[in-house]
């Protein structure tokens, strides 16, 4: 079956069947510096989360165009997006095919979690996967707390999330960008870490895992050197449920398992900002 025919049929069948990965394949790399055809809100207040988490829309609200935070005084007349009963608190940066999200969803059923993926087809796969999983569990409300959207996390995180909104950020098996001149494209960098610190609340945790030792050392060096983060001890790491999930449930971790490769884990706690 061709890709087109597959996607057409899925649409006609109402997206109930589980999506098949082979119809969503896309090359593994995307240039984070180029201008992609991206849709993103100009600020967090403008972000409409209701299509992503329909079970978490505040019931019985009447849209109030006057209340729109940033845009209120002399700004646009756009109606504010519907209010939600919860905010996204767990973020998976570069979620790939969504294995981590699907495994985390039942662990924190009342917490909204979001995957960001720069490859459009892959993010579409995760959305289709979530949709079919929701349809398979119509009464339990399972998987209502997960979603995925296409975004460039290196550029537009503050467009989606307010200061200190998140409690956990996952960076699992990121693109290693082996060549030295591509190191600026790595998802953990000295300057980007300040942005992770901005959206992560004090006490929140940044999780990293990779099978590339050099990248692991790179991430540890850069997060260790950043005054907003401190490394979490191995003992504490082992007690964290999320570590087990990210070491076993993501697509990449399964692949590494198959190839009997190594896995390097490092967790970092967001510290309080110093007095000023």
């Amino acid at each position: 079956m061709s890709k087109e025919a597959y996607h057409k049929r899925r649409e006609e069948d109402g997206l109930a069947s589980r999506p098949q990965k082979r119809f969503y394949r896309q090359r593994a790399h995307a240039n984070p510096f180029s201008d992609h055809e991206l849709v993103y809100p100009s600020c967090p207040n403008e972000m409409d989360w209701s299509p992503y988490y329909p079970h978490f829309i505040t019931p019985g609200q009447v849209p109030d165009p006057a209340k729109n935070g940033h845009e209120s005084p002399a700004g646009s007349v756009d109606a504010a997006p519907p209010r939600m009963t919860a905010n996204v608190e767990i973020l998976d940066i570069g979620c790939g095919f969504g294995g981590l999200l699907m495994a985390l969803s039942p662990l924190y059923p009342d917490t909204l979690m979001l995957g960001l993926e720069i490859r459009s087809k892959v993010s579409q796969f995760v959305r289709d996967l979530i949709q079919s999983s929701r349809l398979e569990n119509p009464t339990s409300g399972a998987y209502q707390n997960v979603s995925c959207l296409r975004a460039n996390a290196m550029k537009f995180l503050p467009n989606f999330f307010r200061k200190a909104q998140l409690s956990k950020i996952f960076i699992c098996f990121p693109d290693p960008h082996f060549k030295a001149r591509k190191h600026k494209a790595r998802i953990v960098s000295a300057t980007l870490n300040s942005e992770y610190a901005y959206i992560l609340r004090p006490g929140g945790i940044l999780y990293t895992i990779t099978d590339v030792e050099d990248l692991h050392l790179w991430m540890v060096e850069h997060l260790d050197a950043h005054p907003s983060f401190e490394r979490i001890s191995k003992e504490e790491e082992e007690k964290d449920d999320c570590v087990r999930v990210m070491s076993t449930e993501t697509e990449e971790s399964k692949k590494v398992e198959r190839n009997k490769g190594p896995k390097y884990v490092a967790l970092f706690r967001r510290l309080e900002d110093p007095a000023w």
């Binding site: 510096f33 055809e37 290196m154 000295a190 300057t191 870490n193 610190a197 005054p227 907003s228 190839n259």
Partner: protein, 509 residues
């Protein structure tokens, strides 16, 4: 035509104006020329261009070319790429103050091309002579220093100013990437400079001074064994990647056998520079401001973000973002009297007024309609915003006017007044001493006007309308030759802001 002035700065009654690779100083009253500083390579370049212009046509003498390229001992000039195709990639984004090749095209006749520049002489990899144009110029608050950036060699220059217009070079620092925005700290000790890759550094203004201990440099030296490939059999799987890994191993073995030592590349500049913050986008504006006893770095970029960061040493803490722009931002200005008010503009049809310490949008004011009263345009690209005690002054790329507003009690911009200019403004400045005056650098080439530096004096007490003042600057008194340029050169050099707009193309999957 002689290259127009493109940057202006003042201290007291001294005006500094840059033209190509030269900085000239004038007395504001009356306009007599005081002194000239020339970029060492620019002088030679300008002389060659003048000769060429005299001859009317032909190539630049080979000797001049070779000379100017070997003189680049500090840092090799960036190789010019072949004309980029229609595909959009980061390096194809026109940079602010982008310097195209110059003399190579000179005298080739065909100057009427619109955008489609002749590719001849632009063989990929072939070294082109460089145009050393000053792209940023700023005076320190006490006027004792002038900071300039020359674009082609990415160099930050610091001059001592004797108070009478004479500049003495005190340091030159070639930066890793082309600087695109800079500001001097309120205490006058640090220069904070951002580049086209979004990285922002703090440097001691006095090269002999040191800020270490006062800055938190985020730069991390990554330690890795250069004799070991980063990938291994576990991390690469495809046949082709495994083969190249094997080849890497073999190459390393060979090198080990031959005991070839790899020369460490001098990646980092030798002078003190602390990486204080970074955007993943071209930095287009940078301010260092104090509010309620605390200092902040305010930065804006091509991706619609205005970011407020604590000043050094807590430069790793982001305080807030001012979000709401839908197009690139190109200029910001903060009020002196209302230090929490910031006005920003760029590719949007409106100017935005912010309470920047909290990141709150206070109002938006349309600018496109005012621009349309002057020129027939679809968009505006704000090139500079000045927030002076007599009003907010704004210029846009290619629109021969200065727009002036006042801030109302309700924090909106009111009473737009339009001052029409004889040509497109490249830079403006509002000086308050000895008396209020508005100084404009005009594109004299595109608009074929005799002078490139104009002074306006207020025509009323409130400084709401302006008229050409009696001051005329003695532009001919420049020492040395002035670079000769064509209209096409000027377009490439000074009209790059609209090019910051994103072209949202359909992607191939």
């Amino acid at each position: 035509m002689r290259i127009p002035y493109n940057c202006v700065a003042t201290h007291g009654d001294i005006l500094f104006a840059s033209r190509g690779g030269q900085i000239q100083s004038f007395k504001l009253q009356g306009g007599p020329a005081l002194s000239t500083w020339s970029h060492p390579e620019a002088d030679r370049e300008a002389a060659a261009s003048v000769e060429l212009a005299k001859a009317g046509s032909g190539e630049i003498p080979q000797a001049a070319r070779a000379e100017s390229s070997t003189a680049e001992d500090e840092r090799p000039a960036k190789r010019q790429r072949a004309e980029p195709g229609p595909e959009v990639e980061t390096s194809a984004v026109p940079q602010k103050g982008e310097v195209g090749e110059k003399s190579g095209q000179k005298g080739k006749g065909n100057k009427r091309d619109d955008g489609a520049h002749p590719v001849s002489g632009r063989n990929p990899g072939s070294k082109q002579p460089d145009t050393h144009v000053i792209i940023l110029l700023q005076a320190s608050a006490d006027g004792r220093h002038i900071i300039a950036v020359s674009g082609q060699d990415k160099t930050l220059w610091v001059f001592e100013h004797d108070g009478n217009g004479t500049l003495k070079e005190s340091s030159r620092r070639p930066m890793p990437k082309r600087p695109s925005a800079l500001s001097i700290s309120p205490d006058g000790r640090a220069i904070v400079v951002g580049d086209k890759f979004g990285d922002t550094y703090a440097l001691p203004l006095d090269a002999a001074d040191s800020l270490s201990g006062e800055t938190t440099s985020l730069l991390v030296k990554h330690h890795r064994d250069p004799n070991k490939p980063t990938a291994n059999e576990h991390t690469v799987h495809s046949k082709i990647n495994l083969r190249s890994l094997e080849m890497q191993h073999r190459a390393l073995e060979r090198r080990e056998k031959d005991a070839v030592k790899e020369e460490p590349k001098p990646e980092e500049p030798a002078f003190e520079h602390a990486l204080v913050l970074g955007h993943v986008s071209m930095l287009t504006g940078l301010l260092v401001r104090e509010y309620r006893g605390r200092r902040y770095i305010i930065t804006c970029d091509r991706d619609e973000h205005i970011r407020v960061t604590r000043y050094i040493p807590q430069n790793y803490v982001i305080e807030s973002f001012c979000l709401g722009h839908k197009e690139f931002i190109n200029s910001m200005a903060v009020s002196e009297t209302n230090p929490e008010i910031l006005v920003s503009g760029g590719g949007d049809d409106a100017l935005f007024v912010w309470d920047w310490p909290t990141g709150t949008l206070l109002s938006k004011t349309d600018i496109l309609s005012h621009a349309r009263n002057v020129s027939d345009v679809q968009h505006v690209a704000v090139s500079k915003i000045i927030y002076s005690n007599v009003g907010i002054f704004v210029i846009c790329e290619g629109i021969p006017a200065v727009f002036q507003w006042t801030l109302s009690e309700a924090r909106t911009l009111n009473n737009c007044r339009t001052l029409r200019l004889p040509g497109n403004p490249l830079d403006i400045l509002v000086s308050s001493s000895p008396e209020p005056s508005l100084l404009v650098a005009i594109d004299s080439v595109e608009n074929e006007v005799p002078s490139s530096l104009l002074a306006y004096a207020p025509a009323d007490k409130e400084c709401t309308s302006w008229a050409r003042s009696a001051t005329s600057f003695d532009e001919s008194a420049i020492e040395g030759s002035v670079l000769e340029v064509s209209t096409a050169d000027v377009k490439k050099l000074f009209y790059a802001i609209e090019g910051l707009r994103k072209i949202r193309i359909q992607e191939e999957e």
